[in-house]
Subunit: 450 residues, 2 copies
């Protein structure tokens, strides 16, 4: 335990924002909020600025430099009014930024860089309770209030847990990560009272473990981990957490308690896989690799990654349907997107067994027999287990030809489908080395070594 | 219908025994029965001879030349007495034969060649009813009586149906064939009244079709075709018929009625597959072939074939368990036995995904992790769907090595196991051409072309 304490102290000294950083952040937040309030007054708009998120709660990690500032509207204005005027105010403020762009979640909002800080300027309704929200972000101020009222004395614990989860690669609730959100981390600390107690508890978590701080759950959830929102009895704060990220956290927690080390808090960045190692690895494994390479659609990650995962799943399903067995698959994206499939074999026999109807199925049997009697088959029509069978030429004996020919028939998200329509390459084995992006090569190492 | 009639007439002229054949058979049966009765009298044994089977009923196909002669004992003698004295009498008679051998079914019996006829001399109990039988063969005299009393005027129909089934390869109830027995053919003719009516009915047969001539069924059967024995309400005469042979008959029956031709009555003997055709076929199909070649154990077919099928099934199951996908398999036997497997591929990647326990499974999880943490694996231990996974070296990447190493662990029948213990070869692809037996080569063609 002494050991754990000294590890935590050492980690904290790295991740805890220093006073200078705190002061800079507070000053920036203060000035932006003042600007919002001033614009409201000047132009007669019913708006007020509010700092939310980890920066409002004092639970941000040193260097994170993310500010969430809400432009609050009264709950009785229309959605159109909020969207129009909210964006108007945000743009005015963003004009003072180093750079900014408009982004789209449920509403449009602005992401701007001020003085090295990434600031989200988000219009929201100031509703009377979390149960009365008009858009998803309206919940945040309630989270803010709940956490601020209970987090005193526990902020360091929050920082440790966040950094531990970063080290495990499970921190962040975006759809790219499917991990633990900052709010979820804060609730776990409030519930279990310390970083170490969260780890101890996690060692006994199972699929379906439920945490209900306010004992007010009102709906059954089927998620791997269920943490009832203290501000909304019907909501699971951990709904975005994937089973595997929950399990990685369980595993890391037990491992750390068994053999504590500072390494658990470090983000591991794999070395890029070079050409020779790629060739050696693939040869040693004896499998085949197929990559679909195309321009990544220009949309935010929360839109892009679900579409890439959908494509990964639907191409996987198609490969298996055509008898190609998939060992592993993954997605990667930057300017381009690459979907990788490791196959037992990229080639299948020409012959394929084709099962027909039961012998006693009347017209179906006749139709099957007349279709295959005259065609060029490997075998005559025969009977197995009461059904007609025939051995025919397989349509696709090579996985790359299958993907090239049938990819547009796979279920693809809107933006990915458009990008694929523009063009794509299907690469096999060594051809994949033509992708030289360093981050892709890191992901290749992770693909093989896990 | 005229066409069918003329086809049947033409077939009948080939398959119906001529008067000379009938006379020769009757004379031989008469003399053997007389000998049995005479020996009984001379030696004070309570025996009498009885001709049973198709030769007794006048429903044998020309050239079949099989005689079943029973040596009947009173039902109150002991099993040992019957076996000892029955074999004694049979041996005395067989001394007059060209050749003979002792065989074993439920009792020992003698198979002898007299004057080109194959004669089975079988001791049996003369029981008062089929319900009171003491051994399986005791039923036969009751079948004999039932058929003889009803078959008058229908014998030609029986011959046609038997020959039609021979043409389809489904005649014979031995465990090698799993087809229709002679008695079953006779019952179908008695029930449906003619060859053509049996075919018409068969076109509407389904799995579980039940025929109960005496409307006295007393037990539920789960067989594909159920024909209740008129002499035993608990017995299904078609119990040995396989689903696929039933279906082949259904299919042939419909095809014949649609396009009648004498070809349906001819046994198709495939040409042996020569070396070049074998190579071309295998290359075109793109699959791999594995053959297990060993000395066929010296036992009767009814013992040998079930053991070969058991071996086929258990090696098939093992191949699939080790991820080798089996497209087709078959057995062949003469002096040697060969089990063939057509595989999607005879080679698999070195890497194999190995699934461990759930992350929350406590000791199991610890044991899995400690086992694979230090060993030489392709990947680190990772998590998928809540379970630990690791990628390890596959034990057998080649199907022939698997079979060579693990065949003795497969479920094998007694005689086959002994023979395998003596030695066997596992041949792959072109090596299989070292088996030059012509009948094996015929079976190879059938294996591919069906």
């Amino acid at each position: 335990m002494n050991n754990i304490n000294s590890i935590c102290a050492s980690v904290l000294s790295r991740i805890k924002p220093c006073d200078a950083e705190k002061t800079r952040l507070a000053a920036l937040a203060h000035s932006i909020i003042n600007r919002i309030n001033a614009i409201g007054k000047e132009e007669g708009l019913p708006v007020s600025g509010k700092l939310v998120g980890s920066s409002a709660r004092g639970t941000w990690l040193s260097g994170e430099h993310d500010l969430d500032i809400f432009i609050m509207f009264p709950p009785d204005v229309s959605r159109e009014y909020l969207e129009e005027k909210g964006l108007y105010v945000a743009r005015k403020i963003a004009k003072g930024a180093q750079s900014y762009e408009e982004r789209y979640a449920e509403h449009p909002y602005i992401n701007a860089i001020f003085d090295g800080f990434e600031v989200d300027l988000v219009p929201a309704f100031s509703v009377p309770s979390a149960a009365a929200i008009r858009s998803a972000v309206d919940r945040t101020p309630f989270h803010n209030d709940y956490v601020i009222s209970r987090i005193k004395g526990l902020k360091d614990e929050v920082l440790l847990l966040k950094q531990f989860m970063r080290g495990a690669g499970v921190y962040g609730s975006e759809l790219k990560t499917h991990g633990f959100s900052g709010y979820l981390v804060e609730l776990l600390i409030i519930h279990y009272d310390s970083f170490i107690e969260v780890l101890r508890a996690a060692c006994n978590w199972k699929y379906g473990t439920t945490i209900d701080l306010e004992k007010h759950a009102s709906v059954a959830h089927k998620d791997p981990l269920i943490v009832i929102d203290p501000t909304d009895p019907a909501r699971n704060v951990a709904a975005a957490l994937s089973l595997d990220n929950m399990c990685i956290f369980i595993d890391r927690a037990c491992e750390f308690l068994e053999n504590p080390s500072e390494a658990f808090f470090s983000v591991q960045v794999p070395e890029p896989l070079d050409d020779a190692s790629f060739r050696n690895t693939l040869h040693a494994r004896g499998t085949s690799l197929i990559a679909i390479d195309f321009r990544a659609p220009d949309v935010v990650e929360d839109v892009l990654f679900p579409q890439l995962h959908k494509m990964e799943e639907s191409v996987h399903e198609m490969l298996e349907r055509y008898d190609f067995r998939v060992y592993n698959s993954s997605i990667w994206a930057d300017e381009r997107a690459v979907i990788l499939f490791e196959l037992e074999s990229a080639q299948l026999p020409d012959v394929k067994k084709h099962t027909g109807p039961y012998v006693w199925s009347g017209e179906h049997a006749l139709a099957f027999k007349s279709k295959y009697r005259e065609s060029n088959t490997f075998s005559s029509i025969y009977i197995r287990d009461g059904k007609y069978m025939v051995e025919i030429q397989r349509k696709y004996t090579r996985a790359n030809r299958l993907v090239e020919s049938e990819i547009t028939k796979c279920g693809l998200g809107k933006h990915v489908a458009l990008s694929i329509k523009e063009g794509y390459r299907v690469l096999e084995n060594d051809d994949i080395l033509s992708i030289r992006d360093e981050d892709f090569r890191r992901s290749l190492r992770k693909f093989f070594e896990k």
